[in-house]
Symmetry: C3
Subunit: 429 residues, 3 copies
């Protein structure tokens, strides 16, 4: 990352004044923010990094552990990861939210920050204050398919149907039960399953849902299955019988395709998060077990993109090496959109490389530069600042300096990919 | 891309004064330049980008559409792609050729540029003037195998045998007919096919051809097939019978290998453009349907490189992630050359990364930095300027500043990879 | 690479003052340094680059060729590779060791450098002087399994068991003979083979060995084989019978797994150098025949990493595109470490990209930034300087400037990954 100079700092400050819609998070709208510094430090990024740096899982995952005690144990290992950008997120939150300006949290200084955080976060105005400080107006959720979608302001917290359970865990009796309960459909075959899915889409769209989302393993191959081939498989599945591995795959492909069809019918964009293998490191901490296989290609998705020209596919890839595919596929396919910088690629140096290519080669209306992917509101601030800094540098170097653009024109481009496209693609008014 | 400073600007200007040979284009020597601004805007880069940005294909591909009306429709969508480097090419052409200095073409301002372009391009001196402004002396073509190669100055427009039809479309009766017509050989088996190919090479080399060229899909595996295994397949092919998929592949491999053998015999370099899948997006605009699968490797080509030590293989890869393979294979194999920056990698940020690695690790005699790949002469200017700017930056940063080279020495390196190696590798005198 | 400014130059100079342990080399402790300039120029980097640039192999590999004559022939082609960073290594050695300050070695000027080098290198103090100039205290070796490990100071030259022969060449009668001779075990099946391996580990650890190391092809799949399945295969192998390809693979997997088990038992880190195919270019110069297939993934190693939580795996990958996997796997797995910049990735532009990502996303205790991989001591200096320059730039840009770190804090991070982690991971006291 090129160091900020006065031009890129000026652009950064202007970018910060653009109010955002955060189009992909894991926020619980009934408990959207942290209760204390402990909640900040137990974000999986920190538990997995300190575990990787030598902290035994048991020491931080014991069920009887108090939040404060867990925090103190994490703090003990924090110096091992103080080089990481994730550590910088903590410090930026501490500076912005708690007016704390040391280089790092230590066993000596954390308790006062903890006390201060607990007090501030207990305030009724905290939630709104965090959103305002972060410059965020609306937040997309990723709701389980059986979420009631009630009890919160869906104008602020926009529902989004998370499809992972439907595609990958339909074997589980618990998931089958939840589906039946949520839809009042007794699923036993393809027709009843289709009815159930339609019922979910009715429920979600009538509650203001603006997207579906699913995360896919790197070897997932979306192809169309013939319903009559799948019917006997679903029949067996829903009376608790086992399927073979190829049968499982066929059911997953069928369900995925049906969801794409439903997105088309209900006019919902389908966010695809491509590339994650679950539970690769089996003894990892909670949410710290997933990795990837770089051997994957968007070429696997060509039939999907061809089959659904009217479904918008905002696509996240897990590795920077796959970014050039994302650039080329969204340059060619009208329904493919570049969507943020995900997980292992959400690091300044990868954002920098990936964003430069997108800005140089993909129509500016086809890219949404940022989403937070957070579980708690507080993290949107440092994550978005990280992105805005990289974006400001690129606008400065590749547009204002290299292409002689005015700063206003550069800011307009920044606004387009930060805000305008999110409104347009997800039909937010 | 690092912003230009005075050092890299100085280097850029000196690089611009080196007269070039453009070693890979799709120029039609009988109609080498555009007739108006409309021809510029209908380059497939623009039709595919505006289509990707929402323009229905029918609106710009209707056969009855006049060039001027088509242009006006493209202009309407141009603001959606004005961030792209391809848009910058248009504006650079407008500045250099038509003295037009607005930020972009709009529905309000394009007609005067159109009129001016039409007038200028009708001048008899236009062709030579474009070449001079671009600093280009000679231009390689990519001729169909049955091109007469007559009717133009082959010193300016150098013939090059394009082999795609022979390798991949030999099944088509139309291709078989053209082969017979071009060679006067009645092809029916391996011996007659070899005779026909020999006749093509005689024809091309006697007309001053300096290379063969072929584009290959990412899963192409060049291996040697035994002629007696292929003989019955060719016999069936040339009486219009079908082949199975593996038989097709074997024929393709046989033809490809025979072409490499012919390159060896006739002392022609074999340009390999590796990585393109054709018609991935089936409803895309003309020439806007091709994409790639990043899962490919030059390792697939090892037997070819081992088998033909005396054939020079200038190699283009489609993705920046494969560039490190190209660097390593041309560092090790004497007959493998780095060849330009192709298509989806012909974007400043990818050129920058790829060129740095080549300049740091591949013998300077083994790289040809640039070709235009254009259909009309006008595009060579902005494409070459884009490349020269990146190159000037790298020479400034990695050689003059980081390694304390004199500017003259840096320019000599630039000249070597821009001009000298093209002469040496393709035997141009 | 960003050009050095005064900040990064200051950081570079401070980094140079940190005494290093070089944790992976191919030094022969009984002949650790060059005898003259000829030894420098015959490093495989130079023979392969000039061969790639057109020098016939026979001209430089004739067995009767004197070192001086060979050198003079290499010099003739040196201008063809003077752009490469490997050429810069020569010039840096000439400057530092022989006070020679021309731009390059030429047919006119090399003899005086040769004479000067021969004289200097004959001095008794040369070895120590080179180590001091390079700032290196200790050097890891890669010893054949049947090395006596005697005759040198194992405090300076630390033994390390190189496992390639055991894993990949056990078929060779010569290797079987060496194993029997080294261990005094008559190997004929799994139990005796295990005894032999245990004896090797006893021998190595009792002589101060600090690691095992092996280089693996990109398609190697480390999985656990059942000893009773392998027993009959080893029985046949050790009476000189042939194995099928799948049987060979199973034996390789068994041996590799047994070595990992032994590393666990003897508490040795296991250095994995992942990605090299041997003898891809069959007519290449000595040590200049190996390449890679970018299609590979650390996902293949997941069972190994899960099975041996107590074995430390310092991992080198061959391509920069695989670096993001290395970053993610060492971010998640406590036993996976980022280990240097290997071979085709040991070039400033790749080091720069790879190191930025590691420093931004991997715990600072999980990375060892540098090893030399050299055959002669002299090369450690330019290789380490190359790395230190890149590191200094990154510390300047990404930490001091972008994150507002003090220079001292940045240097501490540099020291951690250059020195401290090598001590900790390899248990050097």
């Amino acid at each position: 990352m090129t160091p900020p100079d006065s031009l890129s700092e000026r652009l950064f400050n202007t970018l910060c004044s653009i109010p955002l819609i955060d189009p992909h998070t894991h926020i619980n709208p009934l408990s959207p923010h942290c209760e204390s510094l402990a909640d900040i430090l137990t974000y999986h990024y920190y538990t997995e990094l300190v575990h990787s740096a030598g902290m035994p899982r048991e020491v931080i995952e014991h069920p009887d552990l108090s939040a404060k005690e867990k925090l103190s144990r994490l703090i003990d290992f924090l110096d091992r990861i103080d080089n990481t950008i994730q550590h910088e997120w903590i410090m930026e939150m501490c500076r912005e939210f708690f007016d704390f300006h040391e280089d790092t949290l230590t066993p000596e200084n954390w308790e006062s920050v903890y006390d201060s955080s607990e007090k501030k976060m207990a305030s009724d105005s905290w939630e709104t204050s965090v959103l305002e400080t972060s410059g965020i107006e609306k937040v997309f959720l990723t709701n389980d398919f059986d979420d009631s979608l009630e009890g919160w302001d869906t104008q602020r917290y926009v529902p989004c149907l998370r499809c992972d359970d439907l595609v990958f865990h339909l074997t589980r009796p618990e998931v089958q039960g939840r589906l039946e309960h949520a839809t009042n459909v007794r699923v036993k075959d393809v027709p009843t399953f289709s009815m159930a899915v339609a019922s979910l889409f009715e429920h979600f769209t009538s509650h203001g849902a603006k997207a579906c989302a699913v995360s896919l393993p790197p070897d997932f191959l979306p192809i169309s299955q013939i319903p009559s081939d799948i019917d006997p498989l679903l029949q067996r599945l829903f009376i608790g019988k086992d399927l073979s591995e190829p049968e499982h795959r066929a059911v997953q492909q069928y369900v995925f395709w049906l969801l794409a069809l439903s997105c088309q019918e209900y006019n919902l964009p389908f966010q695809l998060m491509i590339g994650v293998h679950r539970q690769v490191y089996r003894r990892g901490v909670y949410q710290g077990q997933d990795l990837f296989d770089q051997q994957t290609s968007l070429f696997q998705f060509r039939e999907l993109f061809n089959a659904f020209p009217n479904v918008k596919f905002p696509i996240s890839v897990l590795t920077s090496s796959q970014n050039q595919e994302l650039v080329a596929y969204s340059w060619i396919f009208p329904n493919v959109y570049c969507f943020g910088h995900w997980w292992y690629s959400n690091v300044p140096t990868f954002i920098d490389r990936d964003e430069r290519a997108r800005l140089q080669a993909v129509p500016k209306t086809k890219q949404m530069g940022w989403y937070s992917d957070v579980y708690k509101l507080e993290f949107a601030l440092p994550k978005c600042h990280m992105y805005r800094r990289v974006l400001a540098n690129i606008l400065a170097e590749d547009f204002v300096l290299a292409r002689n653009w005015s700063e206003d024109r550069a800011i307009d481009l920044g606004k387009q990919i930060l805000r305008t496209n999110v409104e347009t693609v997800f039909d937010i008014r």
